[in-house]
Each structure stands twice: as structure tokens, then as C-alpha cells.
Symmetry: C2
Amino acid sequence: MTIITCLAPVNIAVIKYWGKRDERLILPLNDSVSATLSINQMHAKTTIFTSTDLSEDRIWLNGKEESFDESSRLLTCINEKKERECLNSGIETEDRSKWKVHVCSENNFPTGAGLASSAAGYACFVYCLTKVLNVDCEVSSVARLGSGSACRSVLGGFVRWHRGLKGDGSDSFAEQIVPAEHWPTLRIVILVVSDHKKKVSSTSGMQRSVETSELLKFRVSTVVPRRTEEIIKAIERKDFHSFAELTMKDSNQLHSVCLDTYPPAVYMNDVSHAIVDFVHKYNKLKGSSNKLAYTFDAGPNACLFTEGEHLSEVIALIKRVFPPLSDDNFVRGLPVQNKQIDALCKQFDNLLLPSCGPHEPGLLKYILSTKLGDGPTVVSEPGIHLLADKGLPKKQLEV
Amino acid sequence: MTIITCLAPVNIAVIKYWGKRDERLILPLNDSVSATLSINQMHAKTTIFTSTDLSEDRIWLNGKEESFDESSRLLTCINEKKERECLNSGIETEDRSKWKVHVCSENNFPTGAGLASSAAGYACFVYCLTKVLNVDCEVSSVARLGSGSACRSVLGGFVRWHRGLKGDGSDSFAEQIVPAEHWPTLRIVILVVSDHKKKVSSTSGMQRSVETSELLKFRVSTVVPRRTEEIIKAIERKDFHSFAELTMKDSNQLHSVCLDTYPPAVYMNDVSHAIVDFVHKYNKLKGSSNKLAYTFDAGPNACLFTEGEHLSEVIALIKRVFPPLSDDNFVRGLPVQNKQIDALCKQFDNLLLPSCGPHEPGLLKYILSTKLGDGPTVVSEPGIHLLADKGLPKKQLEV
């Protein structure tokens, strides 16, 4: 019997993945680049319990038992890698049929809020499996099989997912561009937008874009390759201005391609666009170089990037432009200094506020402040496991 | 002394004009195709008074005197054509310096509501000028100099604006594809969306797209030429299904390019996208071929196309999905039969309404029902002129 618990981070793409060239192997049409967010604010947590006493593979996701079907492919994959490793080292392989796994996983942030919960979840599951089976393999390409963008959550800092060229997907994996320590002053702020609209899932939207958007083809062949190289240079040089411009342009282009899809896939709403407007106006106010950037995934929530020195000012202004219903727990995550911004606010009120807000209160649910972080990790504090001694969820047993 | 009054129609593009290759001559990057709407529901009306007694050129637009500067270029242009005509016919030209014009123009629909008021206005002004000067010239390329899309309002039915290839713009003019009588059953419904947002003007949005959107280049070079030929065939064959698909795709692509602009130009809002959603769901409900199409210009208002047989059903469903604050004067324009749609509504309620509405009341200001119509025309009923005997506006004098 083995029990191991791991945490894995969320990642936010700055050069977006949109469109697969192989649906089964989840091979993307283009390279993508992402920032891995600190595990301290947001993470998926997975416990895997393995024993020869278990009768079947089972999985509990966010407190609810789900079918193991989708996960068995990843388990098989890691298992095969283990067997190959054993074969190469001349060690006898344990018979897979003799033992089963119980998996329990949860996110410490709302699922389906457009915050890439499946990416963190699959990355955590696969990483944890490699620890349970004690196999030393390339984790990202297995995580990719669960959910494409999951492959980028197995590394920290800034990460590039290579599309690869081979039909079997063996060269489609994630690679670290720089570790989190490279850009310690970078701050990431997530604006969770109040939204009740049923959304087009990213999987189906993506598929429809591949089938119907002519602009996607051009984006993939012409725009992304150059942008990928440019943003990597900007990240390496910590050139915030260029990083911000490329990030915003690529977010806009993703949503542009979604609109060019037939029928169109619409993820941003009026509040999202009001955030875009705010960011451009803030940058204009601050001078000639960008101090703030936005990016949007397949949902209305914004992810902002800024340097630490502007953070408290940015958050104070967001609260002015998008006033909360209540200050209670509105700003979460890394502590934000309550900076005096009267002078700036005055300037802001006069120059920009009339055209940019304040909006009616309550358009944002909350704000989460975080920064770059590392890849998945094993945790071993007492009481950390999500599964109890017999391999059943603690929370369910508590009921 | 001469006084002439003309009416000119509004046109709605189905293959969109977005981006100029020459800002001064207003030469477009691509061909566009439009439907001319009936003058009976919407028009610009212009009276021109010319006399040797007037001391200066003056213009009143929608009840307010404006500078004549923008109009003088068009006047000069028509005047030159007159001189050339006279020269060719051996007639002596009248000295332009001896007489001046007073122009009074108004729209019978709200200006700046994103309903192409400037297009109808410039078309009316130029057409009326040719009547006043009694010159027989190609009107569209002069109207183009006022506002690009105005060139399409000088003809009825479906119209193609050729981008042209020459640097002097002499081959950039409008041509009729089919007259209005070709498709008498086609109905056009304008949904005026309640909106208070300050909008990006189409001129500046367009310019920014040319400067920053890479997708626009691809659209212009690759997508539009093929779509233009396809939609002309669909119009000639009255193939509503193909016409609808091409119209919706091209509207989506225009707004897609606007989003790919940096900073993005956003014209559609959440209500616009809810209309898009409704149209796709209605088409799905009606079977495999499209029965309804949407198109959006540089604003949130929708323009819908449908065949007459579906009109009353479509309007009844729109009123269900987007309930008015009051039924009073909500549906305007061509009379719409109050069809019993209980059976369909039931089907609609069960299958689609939960995911598509009803929305909160008041999202739409009003609905205007109209159809294809002819080009500009001279009107001569008694009391029709906007200018009185001395060339001053009747309305202002009445004050």
C-alpha cells in the first residue's frame, strides 16, 4: 500500500493554444506559452492510494465520485512507461492487474470558473501517479493526453508547449523557458467576473474554430510562430512593455478567432471588454510604456499582469472602476499594500473615469492576487491526504 | 434660382467594407456588397436651393447649421463634371463664382444609431446636386468621397462596390447586382438595441484595424474575394440559405477583425451576441436550412434578413425572447401580420427558450420592419422642400 499527495499549479497562457491537429492525442495546431501561478494561492490537490486490496480503480473529483474511464488512459500510459523502465533496468515488473488505485482530487478555487481547473487537475494526477509508481519519465506529454493545457502545469515559471511535428505526438511536450525566480517582481491578478451565462466549452469551441474559421489557419501559420519567439525574448529580458503588448494582442486574437467561428463562440462579455478598456486607459495614463496587461481564456474572467510596484495602485483603481458590492473578502491571495493613491485617483478621475466608469457595483465577484510559482510538488504534512486508511475519501466518510 | 428635394436610401452591407487603401480618396481594401433598404421606411431627405442671390454656401444637417467644408469637395467635384460635360457639348459653362448653394438635409431615423445615416445623407446630397446642376455623371464615386459606404446608397436592390485597382480611384464605384424587384419576398428587420456606451467611430476603428490587425490582411486578400462571388451567386439565385450563411459569417469576421485590432474596437455588446445566439437557435429549430440571418455594423444594432413567410413568426419570437418595456410603437415600419404562433412557441419554449431567454425587458428599443428598395429619387409634392423661398430652412424659420 502506498499513499501520496501532490499539489499542482494553474497556468495561464499568454500565447494561446486554440485548435488541435489531432483530437485523440491532443496535439495542438501551434506552440503556446504560459505563466505558472503560485501554488500558495491556487492549486489542484490529488491523493493517490494504491493497494493490492482494492477491487477497482476509483476517482473522486471535488467531492463527487466520477467514472474512471477518462483517467484510465493516463494510468495505462504511466504504467507502460514504468514497465519500459523496469525492462531497461532488468527489474521485474509488478503485475498491474494485482493492484488498483483510488484517486481523490480537489481544487482550492471554483471549478468551471474559467480558471483552468482541468489543467491543474490532470497535471496533478499524472505527476502524483509518477510518484506513486516511482517512475522517472517526461510528465508533460502524459498530462497533455488528459487536457492539452495540463502539460504546461507540470513546470514552473514560464513554460512553452511545443506543438511538435510527429504524428505520434512524441515531440509535443512542455519546456521551461525561465523558472519563477527569474521574474520575482511580476504580479498576477485574477478578476473573477460575475456571470451566469451558459458557456460554450473550450473543447467544442476549439473544434468548431478548426472546422470553420479561416482566420485561425492564418493565425496558426503566420502570426503565432513569430509571436512565440518574440514573447520568449521579452520574458528572458523581463521587458514588461513588450510582454504586455504581445500578451494582450494574443488574447484579443484568440477571441477574434472565436468570433470568426461559425456559429461564433463568445467567451468575453461586456464586463470583460470594460476591463480591456480600463487596462488600455490605465497604460495611456501611465505614459508611453505598458504597465498592465490582460489576457482572457475561454470565459469572461480576466488575468492581469503587472510589476509589483504598480500592484496596489492597480487594485485600488480596479476597486474604483468596478466597485464591489462589499469590501468583505473582495481582494484575496497575496497581501496587497493599501497604498495612498489620492493623487493618481484625482488624475484618473479627471482624465479617464468619465469614459471608463465607475460601473455599477458587483460586476466583479472578487480579485485574486498572486505571482509566478513552481511546478507540482509532493506534500507530506500530517493529515494532508484526501484519502483515509482504506483508500476512501475523508470528506465523504465524515458525512 | 432652382430648388430640388431628393430622398436617398440606407444600405446595409452583407459583405463588409472595413479598411481603406487611400484615406483621402476613400478607396477600400476590398469589394463590398449591400442591400438597399426601402425609402418608405428609412431615408435621408435633402433640399438644395441654388441662386445667384446667395452670398455663401451653407448647409443645415438635422436642424443644425454645420460647416460647409466637408461638402465643398463634393460640390467642386460635381461642378467639374458639369464643366467637362458642357465643354464636350460645346455649351458655355456658367461661372461657379456667380451662384451659391444652400443645403438642408435630415434623416427620418435617429442619427448615430449605427444605422448608416451618413451613407444615406451623402448619397442624397450628391444625387440632389446632379439634379440641381443637371449633370449626367457617375454618382457613386462622388458620393464615395463623402463617406465610403455612401456610394452604395445611390443604387437600389443589391449593390456591389468595386474596390478598383487604380490609384486615382476612377474604377472604385458601385454597381447594381439585381434591382429590388428581383427578390420581392425578402424582408429586413432592424433591431435597435438600447445602448449608452460611447462608441469607437467606424472611421477611427477602421484605420486602427489597417494599422494593427494582421487578420485583416488575410481577410482582404483571401476571404473576401471568394465570398463576394459566392454571395452574388446566392443573391442571383435567391438562395436564402447560402445568402444567410455568407452574411452571418462576414458580419462575424468584421467584428473578429475589430477585436484583433490593437487596442480592440468593440461594437457588439452582450445584447448583440444574444441576438446572434437567438438567430442560430431559430435556424436550428426550423430545420437544416437557414431561415434567418443577422448582420452587425459598427454598433450594437442587428439587421436581420428573412423571407416574408417567416416574418410574423420571427417578430413574435423576438418579442418573446427580448420582451419590450411596452408594446407601444415597439414594432415599426412595414405592417406585420399578427400571426398565431402558439404551436411554434410551445416548441420553442421547450427546446430553446431556457438557453436563449427570455431576457429582462427593455433590451431592445424598437424593431423596424422593411424590405429592399430603389435608389435615390427626386420628390416634388407640394410643401416637400426643407428650404423656404429665400433658401433658409423652414423649420428654423418656424421657430
